[in-house]
Symmetry: C2
Subunit: 131 residues, 2 copies
Amino acid sequence: MELTRKAEYAIAILTELASQDSNQPIQSREVAQRRSIPENLIPQIVATLSKRGWVEGTRGVGGGIRLVTDPQSISILDVIELIEGPIYINRCLKGGVCQNERSCSLRRVWSKAQDALLSVFRETSIADLLD
Amino acid sequence: MELTRKAEYAIAILTELASQDSNQPIQSREVAQRRSIPENLIPQIVATLSKRGWVEGTRGVGGGIRLVTDPQSISILDVIELIEGPIYINRCLKGGVCQNERSCSLRRVWSKAQDALLSVFRETSIADLLD
DNA sequence: GTAATATATAACTAATCTAGTAAGTAATTA
DNA sequence: TAATTACTTACTAGATTAGTTATATATTAC
């Protein structure tokens, strides 16, 4: 019942980038150190953020990564789902598992609980995490 | 980010028992079949419910298990935490992981999201799941 | 009192997922 | 051309989960 660390790291990276007031690139290694993220993990996470179009990297001396999207437009939910794929607190919510999806009272509870959870993530943006 | 099946099965077992209008014991094997739970898994789950005092088993011919607690007083959260232990959607919430717990804005989001999730579970009882 | 029945207990296995490692590739600048 | 930095890919160790199997214990029927 835990979210993955990669998702947590991704949020941390984006928040760190958003906190750079100049939009100068910052080295991913520097980001890793500031946020206590294992350096080896940075590449694969940044690559995902990059493909999604939120982050841009420039290589070579003086290079680094920078945020190229308004941090207010990126929700925590967006980030989590980008890294982990769609979230289900229970397999029943994936659909196709069970016959009586419609009438199942337990399924309704899962659904309600999940909505409550995801709403918080949906309503929180990267910008909201800046101190 | 998924709850375990055992927790799901435990809820199903309790709900099935609660739906028996007479308080006659019903064979655990019968419960397993009705709720599509692998029969081999039943013993360990029932044992846990039994130790907790919600269920009582009687052995031998004509035996079975029965609910000995008001289903309205058992919340889904009680059951999940009995089976899985305390729930944390993120390790930060366990405490002792991070230095700046108090000031961490991300931690506040985890906390809020978890509260939203657990509230739903806390406010739903086994009795609520009866059709 | 013995056999059948049903729960209780405990140890084990296979499969999956997660976190992290490591090695090499590609682009940019000095 | 060498140094620097991001990008890509494959791999490994450990933990967790789901389920299996075997055995012990209590109760009833005969």
